[in-house]
C-alpha cells in the first residue's frame, strides 16, 4: 500500500463513514468521520502553507486559522473536537459517545461539506 493524497483520502474515509452513520455504528462512524475531517483540513492547510504537525490539537488550530482567514466558511475546530472526544469514548471505552446537541447525520453533513471544499481547493 502506498501513501495517498490527503484530499483523496478525505473522500474515501467519508465514503467509509456514511454506511456506518446510516447504521448508527458509532465506533465505525466516528472513526472514519474523524479521519475524513482531519484529512480534509490538512489538505486545505497544506494548500495555504499552514503546517499541521501530528498532534490532533494542532490540526484544530489550523482549522481555526483557516476560518479566521476566510478560507473555511465555518470553524471546523469544534467539530474536530467533538469527533476527537467521540472517537476516544467509542474506541477506548467501547461506549456510545455523547455528541451534545448534534447527531451523527449532522456531523457527517459538516464533514462532507469540508471534503467538498478541500476538493474544490485542490482542483486545478
Amino acid at each position: 500500500v502506498s501513501p495517498k493524497a490527503k484530499v483523496k483520502l478525505a473522500r474515501e474515509h467519508l465514503e467509509r463513514a456514511l454506511p456506518a452513520v446510516s447504521a448508527d455504528d458509532y465506533t465505525e462512524a466516528v472513526t472514519w468521520l474523524f479521519a475524513a475531517l482531519e484529512a480534509a483540513i490538512v489538505a486545505v492547510a497544506e494548500r495555504h502553507g499552514i503546517d499541521t504537525p501530528n498532534q490532533h490539537w494542532k490540526k484544530a488550530e489550523a482549522a481555526e486559522k483557516l476560518h479566521h482567514s476566510g478560507v473555511l466558511p465555518h470553524d471546523l475546530s469544534e467539530t474536530l473536537g467533538v469527533l476527537t472526544e467521540a472517537r476516544k469514548v467509542a474506541v477506548y471505552e467501547g461506549d456510545e459517545p455523547e455528541l451534545g446537541s448534534r447527531s451523527l447525520e449532522s456531523i457527517a453533513g459538516e464533514v462532507e461539506a469540508a471534503v467538498e471544499l478541500a476538493e474544490r481547493e485542490g482542483a486545478p
Binding site: 500500500v1 472513526t31 477506548y92 467501547g94
Partner: protein
C-alpha cells in the same frame, strides 16, 4: 509515596486527616513540578471552572501525572461532578466527567482508567470523594476487567488493519498506536501487572519478555513508521492479544478475587 504504594501501606494516606493533608500537599508539589509551563494556564482555567461549578473532585491523570509526557500527550483529567464547558479551550485538554455514583460503580466494575487515576493521579481538588474512593479501592481491591479490555483491543486492531490498507499514513499511525496501547494494556492486566502511562508500556512489556510488541509500540509513539511497518505492528499487536487470551484462560481473575490480587 505513590498512590499505589499507599494502597498497600499499613497506614495509608486516606486513613487519617493528617496523612490525607500530607497527600494533598504532596500532590500539589508534584503538580507544580510536572506540569509543563505552556500548560499551566490551561490547568488553572480548568481548576477555576471546576471549583466554580462545585465539582466534587478533579484529578490530573495520564502521562503528565507520571512525569512521562511525549510530543503527542494530551492533558488528561477525571472530573467528578457536573460537566463544565471545555469546548472553548485547547483540544489538548481531555476531561472525563463522572458523577459520584458513577465513580464508585465504574471503579468496582473494573474500569481501568478510573482505577488508574486513583492509583497514580494528582489530586487537584477533593471534597472527600477521592478519599472515600481510595478507601473503597483498598478494601475491595477490584482488578480491571481484562476481558473487556481484550475485546476493545481486538476491535481496535481489526480497525487498524483496515486503516493501514487505506494508505493514510497519519491516520493509520494514530489507529495503530491506539490499538497497540489497548493490546499492551490487556496483555499486562492478564499477567496481573497494572499498566502505567503509554510511554511506560514498552518497558513493562519488556519486563514480561515481550520485546517485539514493546518495540512496535515504542515506534508508534516516538517515530513515523511506514505503512508496511504499521501492518507488521498490527500483527505484533494481535500476538500480544493472543498471549492475553492464553493467560486469561489459565488465570482469569474472578470478579470477587480482587482481594488477593497484588498491586503493581
Amino acid at each position: 509515596m505513590s498512590a499505589s504504594e499507599a494502597l498497600l501501606d499499613s497506614s495509608p494516606d486516606w486513613a487519617t486527616d493528617d496523612a490525607w493533608r500530607r497527600r494533598l500537599d504532596s500532590d500539589a508539589d508534584r503538580l507544580e513540578r510536572l506540569l509543563p509551563p505552556a500548560l499551566t494556564a490551561l490547568h488553572a482555567e480548568l481548576g477555576h471552572r471546576a471549583r466554580s461549578a462545585g465539582a466534587a473532585a478533579l484529578i490530573l491523570s495520564g502521562s503528565t501525572a507520571r512525569g512521562r509526557r511525549t510530543a503527542i500527550s494530551d492533558l488528561d483529567y477525571h472530573l467528578v461532578g457536573a460537566r463544565v464547558r471545555t469546548n472553548d479551550l485547547s483540544l489538548e485538554l481531555d476531561v472525563h466527567f463522572l458523577s459520584q455514583p458513577q465513580l464508585e460503580s465504574d471503579l468496582l466494575a473494573g474500569d481501568d482508567f478510573v482505577q488508574w487515576s486513583l492509583r497514580f493521579g494528582c489530586i487537584v481538588l477533593d471534597d472527600g470523594t477521592v478519599r472515600r474512593a481510595l478507601r473503597l479501592m483498598a478494601e475491595r481491591q477490584p482488578w480491571p476487567n481484562v476481558e473487556r479490555k481484550r475485546s476493545h483491543a481486538a476491535k481496535s486492531l481489526e480497525l487498524a488493519h483496515r486503516f493501514v490498507a487505506t494508505g493514510d499514513e497519519d491516520g493509520a499511525l494514530v489507529q495503530v498506536r491506539t490499538a497497540l496501547s489497548l493490546a499492551a494494556r490487556a496483555r499486562l492486566l492478564s499477567a496481573r501487572v497494572f499498566p502505567l502511562s503509554r510511554a511506560e508500556l514498552p518497558a513493562q512489556l519488556r519486563e514480561l519478555g515481550l520485546a517485539s510488541g514493546a518495540h512496535a509500540l515504542a515506534r508508534s509513539i516516538y517515530d513515523s513508521p511506514s505503512l508496511s511497518e504499521l501492518a507488521d505492528a498490527v500483527r505484533r499487536g494481535e500476538r500480544l492479544l493472543e498471549g492475553a487470551r492464553k493467560v486469561a484462560a489459565v488465570d482469569r481473575p474472578r470478579e470477587d478475587d480482587g482481594a488477593s490480587a497484588p498491586l503493581h
